[in-house]
Symmetry: none
Subunit: 331 residues, 6 copies
């Protein structure tokens, strides 16, 4: 890792906006408008919230209670599954095209569909319009475990790019100290944290991670009102529906950009959909790591060592090395 | 792998009928009549029972007892061998032609002849009239081991087709949990189970597999009376011959179609030769896998991993990559 | 491994009864009464349902919807956590005492508390009053994932006992083909399936497993009415509360005992709390495995091999081999 | 391999005698009487026929025809299973004791029971009374596949002993050229061929193998009359029963000892139960291999190479290296 | 490990006060006064800042610059060394006495002297007046590395006590994610964070740790003015001396108590020396871990595993099994 | 590969006759007379002995002893070299003409000359008069290694012909189990074994191979008297010359035809030059392979796999993709 580029500055934009729920084509259109705006402003990197494509089904419990299911919940899942994107697939191609057209690095939260299991995933695209790879959420939170599968160690990438080392953890994954350490071990400089957590304590975690990792932290959350979701009875906001009007804010955002020294560079915004932008001065990383380098001079590998199993975890593997992932290789 | 086609519906027909024993041309004629009927009804997929072409030699023990052979048993095997089909070969071409003529996907149980070893095999054809490939039974049951060879991991195909992912296991192979898991790992959606087991417990297994695999299960069995086989002394029904009249039902069928949620869509029929048909609603797969995705969110690959050796097992291989299978390559 | 004891017969009782919810001492008292009844009848083995101690929180969603929590749900979890049992601990000692007093092998579904994570666990006790070990559910289903942790490969025991090889999987774990195969690989003969699934399709799975594994299957489910749970507002039955009267059956049982040939020996009972008993004739295992021995003559290890990682999965391990589990070893 | 001992001579006895069917203790008593006789004669090595302990169920088809089973056949298998021996187990200890008491190397055909699968196995004991290991038949013949499992490459031993390199293949395994070559590759000098084949052509194979392998071949077969098996209806001789009187010879033996040059040293005996003995002059091996050394100067490894996969084939393996074989390791 | 005591409440006091620099007896007197005050208030646990006994030599560089030493700096270190405490030793006894007298659990920051090396250490005492053990800072920050040694994995204790599981990390150790995870792995409930960092960002880290660990966080810092240190020239405040008046605040405290849900229970105080107290409701831990249990249901040990080498690191060890910990134990 | 022609019958003749030594034109004339006779009898296939054209130099040692040569021996080799045939060449054309004229398949043992190396070769011709290919002996026996080169894996052909699959191994090559298995792997049905071994044990090997390979075995040997070779001193019968009269039989033949079940169909003849003929009933192959199919159902490719390197072995090869087989093909 060459650390000489400590004088570069990168203009980054965090998008705080809502999915067009159950309408993936319209969501992609909206993404393109937002990217275009950011690019006009000069952004080199655009980071979207968790599950922006596919949607974060806030307030729903998919008709479920322990050992109880409803046909309505099943159908709700079918629609949610249909809104998700295959990787690769036409939506991924469209996103790649946007990155190339606007010449930005793009970090996009999606709901990924593989077979019949969904994953909460972040996709990475470079400014040439190439899909670079993905991160799948390792550990969904609470009821998310009912609708999303679990990622594994093979999709915790950090990409070395001309704008710095780029990676992402999603929402409460950011609370997992061993997982963050895996990111630090890969040298992350621009740490993206798409999230669905709009509480104030989230800001503390973002600041802490910037300090702990000596990196820039870019957290993107959706800003949603009740009417960004379909109205009841198509979509019911669980035990809260009665308290909500169409204009009620159900997710207040709080997107933010923080420097390696813990300084807030932009945001948090709790008011509206917005683009939050800042210039990232890479000299800040050097200055911060002089005092605290979490996987460098401040580690104690003689006392504590972390092992990351980063091979894919698959239930069935085929010795001839044709795997079951791709549809053309089934025979 | 994109699984978004959750709204499609496929009309499938399971054939419950008997081989014309020791008469392969007549059996092919009968197959064509049955396919034509199914096509008239609108079937897009037609599934035949185990060993429909070549015959399932129920009740015979080929003159055998441990370490005892009879000339009559030897001759019986010679005739059985002569009724089998080579792959490729003229019978395969005729079957391909039927699939193309009636524009159906065809899953056909045959006795395959390779050299002097027979295999219990299922052949797959597409609606364009192309032979797609085959599955050979991995593990024959009980006395079947005396007349049939053992398949290997190279012929456990799942075909991606416009009507869904199509595969097949034969009879008690369906009881092998690791083999079923290999099928699940390949993403089977239409799981065909040609069989010779007409007992009631078979229904439990079919229902269980539909639930376990989150797939449609189509089980096809023959419906046979004693007089569907040659009369004695040409064909003797082992230790049961005396109890049988020409009309005695010796295999009562039980063909059935089951949905991914375990619901019986058609059958089981224990009464007669018949076509059993149902429309397969692929949305059912999504709804079922929401709760249980055996190789997705409900797997634990960190704890249990299955390896499938899917290369051909051959006793002799030739370094120059000409294999011993085809007659033109012997030199 | 000598399996010659094919003439033994074991009297087994499956308990179909409800937890006294949120009252673990009273549930233990009830367990003892049921065990005493079974012992009077001559039972050598008594199997209780999933989560009998600690309770199965049917109908609850712990106040949760995606990304929404309520203080009431939090408090509900605190009470549920308090009803669980530590292993070892006083409740485990009491259960061991019951097994010894009534000279029965005891298979008991409990909610296990380790630190602040709960597990759905089955405990095993021998007829000498010794605790033998435990199985933790590997993979909770749907909303269970919000309240229970995930087991690992170190607690999938099969115990060799004078009454046969004894093991257990819980509820939909029984749908996991690789996990069942791990049990078969350990030679399970008495396969206990505590469950919370009272649907008819469950019977198909139980029959299939008996055939597949060549083992006796004993499935125990609770029989519960609405008033076996606290009344609202202390306990709210999710989106079903309004449809329920105090006498409404919310879990109809279906406990059953099935032989290795797929014959139903006792049950299923969908009517009431009950003891379901049968004599298990071990000669049946030999007769069944003659035709199908899933990890013996009917396996194809040359084609498919399963690896089970059966070491404990711990996030932090200490090189000096003092683990973090027990409170006395913390320093 | 030290070939200097070409002057040694070993006295070997092949036992031609019948199992006491369904009576393993009596068969062991008979084995001891035969060993004692051979030892009196000076034998250093005693070789018994295939399945001597446990019995070769000649003429039975276990009630089976294709897809037809009878309760009687099932019960027959249960009794056969009960007559088999576990390895290790008390019968193995008793055999080891005989070898030690009479100071002979013992090669004993048994039916081995592992779980619910039976194997046709040969056990080896040294003259110190130690069990050395076993060979399991790789490939049963015809109806044997219905009652016996298949061995693997991990039990094809050749033991280096003071009386020479000792190994065994069973019955028609001796027809498998690659398997014999595996034995030659391990340097077998005393090649034991327990069998159930009493036809004349068997003698040709024995002579050929002696020439091909440059080794002594010792073939042991049972000599049985109809009344060495239980009378009908307990045991029915398939389709031959009517032709048989109690004194009818149903297996006429043909046990033989052949030198590396193809010379018949003793036997074949087709008359009666007998001990067939010869002195094996190891100089003969050297003389024979001067002209033809099948894995030495007469091989063409540049053109043909055989790979033997000699690891155990198990359907389930446990990462912690406790395997599922032994009953004490189940937890 | 039984965690059922979720209803207990513990009153805890964090001390924000300054060392009497270079005067250890006076510092001990001051400690006793503060403890007495806290006890009067009802405190069961009292936590002091980093280096309270022995002092935190803020502003000094011990006369050092890279490769330059001064006699004055040397003398300064001699005095600092003299102010430190041996463990065990009379100061430790006195502190133990205070804990017993006031019946409080005591967590005390000290400078520990072992031979000629100093360590930044935290000592633990129970309310019976027993010394329980110590934690040595693993990794000093910046110039601290010039005056303090490095701890190892053998002194990262978590003590199980009647008031909960008690442990401590010091200052920027709290930024080390693997070290915190070691604490979580030991089950820490009352996480003490003595520090010398008074910046605002410290609050973010404290909040984050409470959320991450699901534990109470108690951070204690000194509140110091310039005149809490000796005046120049005895003690020179480096390159800041000129900007300081005697009343200048040189460390503004910021001591704080935070709940497992991230709520601030008391503090932060940036105004003065003070006792900061709060009642810790252990039900909060259960409620927090329901959503996030860092080493329980929210870990992914299959993907990331941390190993802690928790044996003492000694430069010289003796094979005769005497350990090298204390100078008295060598023979 | 379709094997359905199990009802065909092929009339085959094995020629037992002597070379006209050192006179190749006369030997060709003799060959034609023998072929004509066989054709009259109805033969479709005629098999000649090893080295019929060129001669088998029985009794000669070419003047050699270890490290000793003689001019006489050198001259002897020159004459032997001159009697050999080039492939292609005029003798080959003549042989092809005979096959076409008499409409027989011809298998002819020759001494082949390539440059200055001789090979012991078998040539194959079809009944249309086409040369099909050749087999070169892989491994000469004993002193043969002094006069003949070694073949390689590129000339082990099996030809698919209207009269069946035809191949040949020469003399003690037939003792090589891996080489035979290569032939079986190619599906040989008519296995020709030209030889020079007239001992009785040869019959055992022929019978064994028929059983092992499930094929017809046709072994052709010369019948020679002393006066079939030139008289001394032109040709000296080594150290046996004195014991021989002109009429002494020096090779007694033993040509034989054996069926796949091990039945001797014709021969062995040890009396005179002769034509040995039999009708080969291909149904016998099916009946035999029902019980034993060496590369089909009776193989264990999971345990033993043979690799045949079937490319030409050449000392010099040229990267420009011209092969080195013939001197004319270099460019």
């Amino acid at each position: 890792m060459d650390m000489g580029s400590d004088t570069q500055s990168v203009r980054a934009t965090v998008v705080q906006a809502s999915t067009v729920f159950y309408d993936t084509p319209a969501t992609l259109d909206k993404a393109e408008r937002l990217i275009a705006d950011a690019a006009t402003y000069g952004a080199q990197l655009v980071v979207f919230p968790e599950a922006f494509i596919g949607g974060y089904p806030r307030g729903s419990n998919f008709g479920g209670a322990i050992a109880c299911r409803t046909a309505k919940g099943n159908e709700e899942f079918r629609k949610y599954h249909a809104s998700a994107v295959g990787v690769p697939g036409p939506e991924v191609e469209r996103l790649a095209g946007m990155a190339g057209k606007y010449k930005i690095y793009l970090v996009m939260g999606v709901i990924e569909r593989e077979g019949y299991t969904l994953y909460c995933t972040v996709l990475f695209f470079d400014s040439q319009g190439q899909y670079m790879g993905k991160h799948r959420k390792l550990m969904p939170t609470a009821l998310e475990r009912v609708i999303w599968g679990f990622g594994d160690g093979s999709t915790i990438p950090v990409f070395e790019t001309p704008i710095g080392k780029l990676g992402s953890l999603i929402c409460w994954e950011n609370r997992m100290p061993l997982l963050r350490t895996a990111m630090y071990g890969k040298g992350v400089e621009i740490y993206c944290a798409p999230t669905a957590d709009a509480r104030e304590t989230w800001q503390s975690s973002m600041t802490h991670i910037a300090l702990e990792g000596g990196c820039f932290v870019l957290s993107a959350n959706q800003f949603c009102r009740r009417n960004d979701y379909p109205p009841p009875p198509d979509y019911v906001y669980g035990n809260m529906e009665e308290e909500l009007s169409p204009d009620s804010v159900v997710c207040s955002g709080g997107s933010v950009i923080i420097s390696p020294s813990g300084a807030v560079l932009a945001g948090p915004n709790y008011e509206s959909e917005a683009l939050i932008s800042a210039d990232l001065d890479f000299g800040e990383i050097v200055r911060a790591k002089f005092y605290f380098d979490v996987v460098g001079h401040f580690a104690r590998p003689d006392v504590m060592s972390l092992t990351v199993m980063d091979h894919p975890l698959v239930p069935v593997s085929f010795a001839s090395n044709t795997n079951a992932e791709g549809p053309k290789k089934l025979l």
